[in-house]
């Protein structure tokens, strides 16, 4: 069989060695009423030739970003992934290893995780970062829960409505069974969180206050304002980032008083893959390290005194602490944290800056183009942006998408996709721009808008 090397004869020899007369013997303690002797109700095995044909046909029905001009973002941005990344990820030593429980035979993974932690800490301006979270939304939830543990006996979390609606929905889902109140703060005219409302909502019962920047409408928020509002009432400030390239041109949360940074790091060479696997992150001050969820890698020495890495502070974790653990996470996003690490290593200081500058310049070019239009389109908000903005579409979002589609352009993400259970902003299209789009693509989109 496919990936069962032993042939029927070899299996028979093993069966004989264990003293069983048939495979059924090995399953003797399964209640007979539920034990199936017949084959499961699936089609016969498919060969590689058939798999290629069948799945190839499925894949051909999806819009691949390499074949379309794409302005899709909404929390997941398609940046350049260097060619070497996907090739090195195929190395069996990375691909087919697991959590580095045994450091002597896992220095490869461990070193890479240590590097990932370093990149995230540097980018967010925090002291430390963990080895990865599943993705942005659960990282955000874990940050909120962590803040609660750190602040003791408080019950309220204040969140901006500029946080990605799916993140907020996850927060409500995970917090449903805790006695916590979630207070949402609306955005102002400029698309940024209403600072006065935010400050007013924070009280002594508040354990955490959270903002996202750039927010779900692309608008850059103020970390200073967040930190001030939170710290005024001894709450912790949580900063969410899901377009990490913004941190190459914008001050990081950690440098502006934000206590915990969390979000999505998929911008760094992680393929969009229809939304997963991605790579969440969580970074914070050194003082909070005993409450951080997930794995942490630390530097130590081996018996010869040589430097080496291992998992550390694991008494926080479920396999030791069980119901008192800081999280139930076990399997994380290892391989894609590695992809991000590889990509960041190649980008480096220069590449981060250059990429961010290109995203910014192209976005500003497109925004200027939109402003110069005479038709039924406008920028929804006046706030500063990085590489995404909300376009108010007079003709309706779907009409714009449809007309762009004819030109092989994916014009953007209807805000309604982020917030299908909500009701607001139905006329907004989120338009995101990365370095992958050449000027001709930007002009192509402007032509589409001009055609209305």
């Amino acid at each position: 069989m496919r990936y069962i090397p032993n042939s029927p004869d070899e299996r028979a020899a093993l069966l004989a060695a264990v003293g069983a007369s048939s495979v059924d013997d090995l399953f003797a303690t399964v209640p007979r009423a539920v034990y199936h002797r017949e084959a499961p109700p699936l089609p016969p095995p498919a060969s590689e030739i058939e798999v290629r044909r069948d799945f190839g046909a499925l894949a051909a029905r999806d819009a691949s970003l390499s074949e379309w001009t794409s302005f899709l973002g909404g929390g997941l941005y398609s940046h350049h992934s260097p060619a070497f990344v996907s090739q090195l990820l195929l190395r069996g030593e990375f691909l087919t290893a697991y959590t580095p429980y045994q450091p002597e035979v896992s220095q490869g993974t461990l070193t890479a995780v240590y590097e990932f932690q370093t990149h995230i800490a540097l980018l967010t301006g925090q002291d430390i970062a963990n080895a990865s979270m599943y993705e942005g939304a659960s990282a955000f939830v874990e940050a909120v829960l962590m803040a609660e543990r750190l602040t003791k006996k408080k019950t309220k979390v204040v969140v901006s409505q500029g946080i990605h609606p799916e993140y907020l929905l996850c927060l409500r889902t995970y917090l449903a069974n805790f006695p916590f109140t979630i207070v949402e703060i609306p955005l102002g005219e400029d698309g940024a969180t209403d600072a006065a409302a935010l400050a007013a909502a924070v009280d002594d019962a508040t354990f955490a206050v959270a903002l996202q920047s750039p927010n779900a409408f692309g608008v850059v928020e103020s970390w200073d304002g967040l930190a001030a509002a939170a710290h005024a009432k001894n709450a912790l400030a949580i900063g969410v980032v899901n377009e990490m390239f913004s941190l190459a041109v914008l001050q990081p949360p950690g440098a502006r008083g934000v206590d915990i940074a969390c979000g999505e790091a998929a911008s760094f060479g992680v393929p969009p893959s229809f939304g997963g696997p991605l790579v969440g992150f969580l970074a914070c001050r050194d003082a909070f390290k005993r409450q951080i969820p997930g794995r942490l890698v630390g530097k130590t020495v081996d018996a010869d005194g040589s430097p080496a890495f291992c998992l550390t502070l694991s008494t926080r974790e479920q396999h030791i602490r069980r119901e008192k653990a800081t999280s139930n996470i076990c399997t994380n996003q290892g391989l894609f944290a590695l992809a991000a690490t590889m990509t960041l290593s190649a980008l480096g200081k220069q590449g981060l800056r250059e990429t961010a500058m290109q995203c910014l310049a192209k976005t500003e070019y497109l925004k200027a183009g939109v402003k110069s239009l005479t038709g039924p389109f406008s920028l929804a908000f006046s706030g500063k942006t990085f590489n995404e903005f909300a376009l108010r579409c007079g003709p309706g979002v779907e009409a714009v998408l449809a007309r762009a589609e004819e030109k092989k352009i994916l014009a953007g993400v209807p805000f309604a996709r982020l917030d299908p259970l909500g009701a607001g902003h139905r006329d907004l299209l989120l338009v995101a721009v990365t370095e992958r789009v050449p000027r001709a693509g930007l002009d192509g989109l402007l032509d589409v808008l001009r055609s209305f």
């Binding site: 990936y3 032993n6 093993l14 090995l26 399953f27 009423a33 499961p40 699936l42 089609p43 095995p45 798999v51 290629r52 499925l58 819009a63 691949s64 899709l72 997941l76 350049h80 070497f84 030593e93 990375f94 087919t96 290893a97 002597e104 035979v105 896992s106 490869g108 240590y114 002291d127 990605h164 889902t173 069974n177 850059v220 103020s222 393929p271 997963g276 942490l296 530097k299 130590t300 018996a303 010869d304 040589s306 291992c310 502070l313 479920q318 119901e323 653990a325 139930n328 076990c330 290892g334 391989l335 944290a337 290593s345 190649a346 250059e354 500058m357 500003e364 500063k384 589609e405 370095e435």
Partner: protein
């Protein structure tokens, strides 16, 4: 098996580690490189922006401390790093409970098709029909294998699936008028089980296992009452033992209006042979990175789909994927939904690999379970004379020895594990089950060929002998790995010291 006289070779003369290019070259942050980059973009084709003017004092001019390296540096660094890892592709990876089976290469190829890998979750649904159909098909296949009414593919890993299940159970109890208070968890359970129960807002009540390592039905009866929301069990349990009385257990749980949660981490022991729904299970997560061969990737990603009985269907996270006569769509209009467990729809790339695997086996997938169990029993048979087995009930996909014999000689499970590295194998799991002190939990999986099993067995036997004849070699192991045995306790001490974050938990800014 082979009988070898000498178990060790003579000394080797290695070059000083600092001069040996293959070892201990540290992190990319260590080296003093400057002015390099490994990514080159097209020349900017629009007017440049002025971030300083735009952002004022919120402008950041550089990410200080970041690497400055070229593609050459980076490719070499990660190639060298990889060479310091053991992996399934190099040899049997005996890490029990993790189902370290072969990761088929066709799965990687298919998952990398641009029409899957380079697609955006918010692309128009009519331009994503292939993706939706794939998810729908996977749900159908998992339903066929489990017998559940529906399966959500959204959870990001096993533990996340557990939480999804626990939240659905709670939502169902809430809807029925009483969330209840407790979740029962056997003492043999994996750590994620109690942790999950806690994060779903429940108190954990531990059940002591009986002498066979299975559930003690009297104990269960004594703790089961109307405050109990669910029993979380693992089948076969973490000892590799099947809960023979699973049908009785299900009945007892249901009689109290509680739900039966099955941790499906060990589904590999019975996939295609037993449908969990038939056993009375109400909800179960599957670890696609275990049973369905998606790569573990040095820690992840996984995927933890959850199957549910009809009663729990209303509570599934949104969106579900529906098939309207060949047109696939997302359904968010589910009033009782618990909400969402994550952004988007799940670890789609992992789902692609899992479905590829399932169609590759098709209606012969039960052979996976049969051979996983056979291989584990073969190892058990061969190693029983050399290692102590605390629980002797029949083994399924894994066998849990312990170090009782070796401890008498002053050596422990960790010594055996470390010495195994010198023989080229990845050690067994030692951190649990907590009911077996000094555990050596071995799960070979079905994808190990006979000669690899024998080689592993030979190594384990050789070590058992070394424990008697050359204990200092075992105690000092490993000897041939890129680094020697680590000071993990020291690391934890140092890491927990306030302010020690750099360079302990990250590289310092140079």
């Amino acid at each position: 098996m082979t009988d070898h006289g000498t178990l060790t070779e003579g000394p080797l003369v290695r070059a000083d580690a600092r001069l040996d290019r293959r070892r201990r070259f540290g992190s990319l942050f260590d080296a003093a490189r400057s002015g390099r980059t490994g990514v080159h973009l097209p020349t900017l084709d629009v007017p440049p922006a002025d971030p300083a003017a735009l952002y004022g004092d919120a402008h950041r001019t550089e990410v200080a401390g970041e690497i400055e390296a070229n593609e050459v540096d980076v490719v070499r660094h990660f190639t060298r790093l990889s060479q310091m890892n053991f992996a399934i592709d190099t040899a049997l990876y005996s890490l029990g409970s993790c189902t370290m089976k072969h990761n088929p290469r066709i799965n990687e190829e298919i998952a990398r098709l641009a029409g899957f890998n380079d697609t955006h979750p918010y692309a128009p649904v009519h331009l994503s029909q292939g993706n939706l159909e794939l998810m729908w098909r996977l749900e159908q296949a998992l339903k066929a294998l489990t017998g559940f009414a529906r399966v959500t593919l959204q959870p990001s890993a096993g533990a996340n699936g557990e939480l999804t299940g626990a939240l659905m159970i709670r939502a169902a109890h809430v809807k029925a008028g009483n969330p209840r208070k407790n979740v029962l968890v056997p003492d043999s359970a994996h750590g994620t089980n109690p942790a999950t129960a806690h994060f779903a807002g429940y108190d954990v009540v531990e059940l002591a296992s009986n002498a066979h390592g299975t559930l003690d039905l009297a104990e269960l009866a004594s703790k089961l009452n109307e405050d109990v929301a669910a029993l979380m069990i693992t089948v076969p349990n973490t000892l590799g033992v099947f809960e023979e009385r699973i049908l009785d257990i299900a009945k007892m749980v249901h009689d109290k209006g509680a739900y039966l949660y099955l941790d499906g981490a060990n589904f590999n022991a019975f996939v295609g042979k037993v449908r969990p729904a038939d056993m009375g299970v109400d909800v179960m997560h599957m670890n696609l990175h275990k049973t369905f061969s998606t790569p573990h990737g040095g820690g992840g990603p996984g995927a933890g789909p959850v199957g549910v009985a009809p009663a729990l269907v209303p509570f599934l996270p949104v969106p579900t994927i529906e098939n309207d006569r060949g047109i696939f769509r997302f359904d968010v209009d589910r009033p009782d939904t618990i909400g969402k467990m994550r952004t988007f729809y799940g670890n789609f790339g992992v789902l692609v690999r899992a479905l590829t695997y399932i169609v590759s086996y098709g209606n012969r997938i039960h052979e996976v379970a049969e051979n996983a169990v056979l291989n584990a029993n073969y190892i058990r048979k061969k190693l029983e004379p050399f290692y102590h087995l605390k629980y002797t009930a029949p083994s399924y996909h894994e066998v849990v020895f312990d170090d009782k014999k070796q401890a008498a000689l002053g050596l422990h499970n960790i010594d055996v594990a470390k010495r195994l590295m010198d023989f080229g194998f990845h050690p067994p799991t030692m951190s649990f089950p907590l009911i077996v002190p000094g555990a050596l939990m071995i799960e070979p999986t079905e994808s190990e060929p006979r000669e690899e099993l024998d080689a592993f067995i030979d190594a384990m036997i050789a070590i058992a002998k070394e424990c008697e004849t050359a204990p200092e070699i075992v105690h000092g192991a490993p000897h041939t790995t890129p680094v020697r045995r680590l000071d993990e306790a020291g690391a934890a001490r140092e890491a927990s010291r306030p302010g020690s974050f750099a360079p302990v938990l990250r590289a310092p800014v140079r």
